[in-house]
């Protein structure tokens, strides 16, 4: 079994990106996460996570979509790579396995 170097927050971000399916960029991810977790998240943490994930090869990015609200600056859209999908699957597998070891928390 391979280990993944995926931090908890990074995993969350990766999941949201996957979920948003090529429409993910920092602000949309931030809003989704805040909605789901109920905590407020600083956008720079998300940037850091995104760029690290891209470095590791789990994401790829593209630019586009400048709006006046952003002072004319473009957005950077992230989408998940095959490798990213694989690592998510691995992580889930590992989690389920461990959780299943505890009778009360068995997932199945």
């Amino acid at each position: 079994m391979k280990g993944t170097n995926l931090g908890e927050f990074e995993e969350l971000v990766l999941l949201v990106v996957y979920y948003q399916d090529n429409q993910a960029y920092a602000v949309s991810i931030k809003e989704e996460l805040e909605k789901q977790t109920g905590r407020s998240i600083n956008v720079s943490a998300i940037h850091t996570a995104l760029y690290r994930l891209e470095q590791k090869g789990y994401l790829r990015s593209d630019v586009g979509g400048a709006t006046p609200e952003r002072g004319g600056r473009w957005k950077r859209f992230f989408s998940i790579t095959a490798h990213g999908k694989k690592v998510l699957a691995q992580s889930q597998e590992l989690r389920v396995k461990l959780w299943n070891l505890i009778p009360e928390l068995r997932i199945a």
Partner: protein, 869 residues
């Protein structure tokens, strides 16, 4: 609805990021800000601050990473900027030439001045021990007078070294007194520049020894060291160790070494130096004869004031007599020697620091004026560039890029200016040097490092200060206005330009007035009545050998046709030393200080002085060896010491140098013993004792060359052991004003330059204004304006400016002139005519410039101008 995020964090974001890498991050922050604004702007702003701070590290990291992908070198931009600048410069050769010419002149002058200042400031600094060297000076304080002189008795140096641990080493130097007759090889020379020095000379000072054993220089008696040029002069080679020369009539000296010539930035200099031991002075501690310059090498860290106090306490404590005659020792920093004008005896090797300040100010002013031309012309021509700016902005140039373009313009103008200026400097420097009498010899090569340094500084200074304003103005044009062709300067720009022109002319007029004031004062001083006649008078040496046969010499010389009178004296009237002690009344306790001149009965008639009371010296007394001295005093003597005219004749005084008690037999009209800067001091003429080292020969007016050759022939017969040498008394006198004369010439040059540059400035501006107003002129002509009317129209504004400048410069110049004149005890009043002349002159030049352009403008054919619509 769009809100603006707070500015400071926004700029921070921009600053810390590389656009390509991190635009999205910035955008995200902006977007979030906008969202938050819909709820609460205050919170949004606060949050924006916080987000920015947190984002900075990420931005920094990322922009670094992406740097390589989007490199920030602008080499192409720079190339294109340069091309454009050069093209613009060449498109308008007239303006460019004006600007560059003005700048080159200004910069060249600046270079000369700063080079000179560097030379002055570098005096004496080539000695490694500079910081710890001091000179011991004699201070003589009486109720009437305070004199400082750099000469102390001969035993002071070694005594101080023995008794004070602060003194690490000492060196005594006896500078030249009178001339020496030197026999070297087969030739005889009369030398004026020599010295006697202790063997420690080479330890204290950095003089390079080229030949000879360093351990054996100036130690033994009758040895000397030649400078390289003198070794060449006497023997034609540097290999002269062991050779001998004869000084005077019998003493033979051995050459022990050859040293490099003394550099010109040293306050003391000599062509050869003789060992101090050769003076064969006794060991006693006698406080007479303070003639020896004494330099001490102090231990590092010694406080000079404390040391001085300690020295005075100890030495004055030991010797009561010193206190009585009010003598104190003063420790002078080596670095101050060149600038201290209060110390007597260094007349020509000392510069007043004030001149240095003055010259730097003038240099900067001239540079300023030249730069102003650049600024004015550049902004005036901005309309031409307006279209360029408009288009570039429309296609996306940022103000910063445009700013860089216009700074490149400055650089493109400045580089040739500086290059030409350096060329001019190279050519002018030798002339400047001999003119200013700096004495930089051929061996002191131009210090190009200094030149380079100064040039670079000037270049940078002008680029930034003069280039900045036009660049800013031009890069901030509103393209909308410009492209429409509607383009006016802001009011502030116009006012600034006018102000600058006024400034230029103000400076020019002030300089002209100052020049004229100096010239008048100089003329006044040179032609003033001195109380003696300085014209047609030779000063010749009179040594001991000649003294013995003096009556014969005098008679023979007087027989010569050109000779009117022969007057022996201790010094010429212009060099009378004020510093002799005298007791003027019975029971006087404190000694009085007077000037004294040893001479004889021929003095008053021969030199054209006026006896106002009593009698002249009795010529028959000369052969009497044992009589009391007789004294003649000047009028200031009576005033200073409160003697009435009636009681003075027959009054007895005691004058040390003359041998003692004697009666005053006459009163002579005051005569100047120094430059007219100084007051006349009390002076006593005496006819006994002392030395007469000079002989003044008064000639009838006539052909000087012939007279001199007659004199030379006679001299060879009468005084065979000395070469024929002389100076003229009026030259001697004029040397007192050498500094002022030089300054006069310099200022003359500066004012001419300033006016020239200012007029060039106006020329440029006017021609520009004319071009701008061609349509207006055309219309006016069509409506019937005549050529002169058009000229007036154009020139009016500029002439007004010149008048304003004149008004401003009058008080300025007056104040400056008065303060300078304060230094002279005898001075002219400032003649208002000077101002009028200066003003008229400047105005005339300005009008000339204006009319040249105005004529061209008014001759425009309206048909041509009105057609371009």
């Amino acid at each position: 609805m769009r809100h603006q995020p707070p500015k400071l964090p926004a700029s921070l974001l921009k600053y810390f990021s590389n656009r390509f890498a991190t635009d999205d991050i910035q955008g995200d922050l902006y977007e979030i800000f906008q969202q938050r604004c819909s709820e609460s702007e205050t919170i949004a702003r606060f949050a924006f601050w916080r987000d920015t701070m947190l984002a900075l590290p990420t931005l920094w990291k990322l922009s670094r990473r992406y740097k390589r992908k989007y490199p920030r070198h602008h080499s192409n931009m720079i190339k294109s900027n340069l091309k454009l600048s050069v093209r613009h410069m060449l498109k308008r050769p007239g303006y460019s030439f004006t600007t560059i010419a003005g700048l080159s002149l200004g910069i060249a002058v600046c270079l000369l001045i700063f080079y000179y200042i560097h030379f002055e400031l570098s005096f004496d600094r080539f000695h490694k021990n500079f910081d710890n060297l001091v000179s011991v000076n004699y201070e003589f304080i009486t109720p009437e007078n305070q004199t400082t002189s750099p000469s102390v008795p001969y035993f002071v140096g070694p005594k101080m070294q023995r008794e004070f641990p602060e003194v690490a080493n000492q060196c005594r130097i006896l500078p030249a007194f009178g001339t020496q007759v030197v026999h070297a090889g087969d030739n005889v020379y009369e030398e004026r520049s020599y010295a006697f020095a202790d063997a420690t000379l080479f330890q204290l000072f950095d003089f390079k020894l080229l030949q000879g054993n360093p351990a054996d220089q100036l130690k033994r008696t009758r040895t000397l060291v030649l400078t390289e040029s003198y070794a060449q002069k006497y023997f034609g080679t540097n290999d002269v160790i062991g050779k001998t020369i004869m000084i005077g009539t019998e003493r033979v000296y051995e050459v022990t070494g050859v040293m490099a010539d003394v550099p010109s930035n040293s306050h003391f200099t000599f062509d050869y130096v003789i060992s101090f031991a050769s003076l064969e002075l006794p060991e006693e501690e006698v406080w007479n004869s303070p003639n020896y310059s004494t330099y001490l090498l102090l231990q590092p860290g010694v406080n000079h004031e404390a040391f001085e106090e300690k020295v005075n306490n100890k030495l004055l404590g030991e010797n009561e007599r010193l206190k009585e005659v009010h003598v104190e020792l003063h420790i002078q920093d080596f670095g101050n020697i060149h600038f201290d004008t209060t110390v007597a005896g260094y007349a020509d090797k000392v510069t007043d620091r004030r001149y240095i300040v003055l010259f730097s100010v003038v240099a900067v002013l001239i540079l300023f004026i030249a730069s102003i031309n650049y600024v004015n012309l550049a902004t005036a021509r901005s309309a031409e560039r307006g279209r360029e700016v408009g288009i570039r902005k429309a296609v996306g140039a940022t103000p910063r890029q445009l700013f860089r373009q216009f700074m490149t313009d400055s650089v493109v103008h400045l580089v040739p200016s500086v290059a030409i200026a350096i060329g001019m400097f190279g050519v002018l420097a030798p002339m400047f040097d001999s003119f200013m009498n700096l004495g930089m010899r051929a061996s002191d090569a131009l210090n190009w490092e200094v030149v380079a340094l100064i040039s670079i500084t000037i270049f940078l200074a002008i680029t930034f200060f003069a280039g900045f304003y036009p660049a800013i103005v031009l890069s901030r044009f509103r393209p909308s206005l410009v492209l429409k062709g509607k383009f006016t300067y802001s009011n502030s720009a116009r006012v600034l330009r006018k102000g600058l022109v006024v400034f230029q002319f103000c400076v020019s007029i002030t300089l002209i007035v100052a020049t004229m004031i100096i010239a008048s004062q100089l003329e006044f001083m040179q032609n003033a009545k001195l109380g003696f006649d300085k014209s047609h008078t030779l000063i010749m040496p009179l040594d001991q050998t000649m003294q013995q046969s003096f009556p014969a010499i005098r008679n023979e010389l007087t027989k010569l046709a050109p000779v009117q009178a022969v007057v022996p004296a201790s010094t010429p009237p212009t060099e009378v030393v004020i510093g002799y002690g005298a007791f003027l009344r019975e029971g006087q306790e404190e000694v009085s200080t007077v000037g004294a001149m040893r001479t004889n009965a021929d003095a008053i008639p021969g030199l054209g002085m006026q006896l106002v009371r009593g009698e002249n010296f009795d010529p028959t007394r000369e052969s009497v060896t044992d009589a009391e001295p007789q004294y003649i005093v000047n009028q200031t003597f009576l005033k200073t010491f409160n003697f009435g005219e009636d009681e003075i004749i027959g009054h007895e005084i005691y004058l040390g140098i003359a041998g003692g008690k004697g009666k005053i037999i006459g009163v002579v009209e005051d005569f100047h013993t120094a430059s007219l800067q100084k007051k006349i001091e009390p002076v006593v003429l005496y006819d006994r004792g002392g030395w007469m080292a000079r002989m003044m020969v008064k000639l009838h007016p006539g052909d000087v060359k012939e007279q001199l050759s007659t004199m030379e022939a006679a001299w060879k017969k009468l005084v065979p052991h000395r070469p024929f040498s002389y100076t003229f008394l009026d030259d001697n006198y004029n040397k007192l004003y050498a500094a002022e004369t030089r300054m006069g010439y310099l200022l003359r040059g500066f004012s001419a330059l300033a006016v020239l540059i200012a007029c060039m400035g106006i020329l440029g501006l006017i021609s520009y204004a004319t071009v701008q107003r061609t349509k207006e002129i055309g219309i006016r002509k069509v409506l019937g304006a005549s050529v002169p009317q058009v000229m007036v129209l154009i020139g009016k504004d500029f002439i007004k400016l010149v008048l304003v400048a004149f008004a401003l410069s009058v008080p300025l110049a007056y104040y400056a002139g008065q303060s300078w004149l304060q230094h002279f005890e005898y001075r002219i009043g400032i003649d208002p005519m000077l101002f009028v002349i200066a003003g008229v002159l400047t105005l005339a030049l300005a009008m000339l410039t204006v009319s040249y352009q105005a004529v061209k403008a008014s001759l425009i054919n309206p048909a041509d101008t009105l057609r371009t619509e």
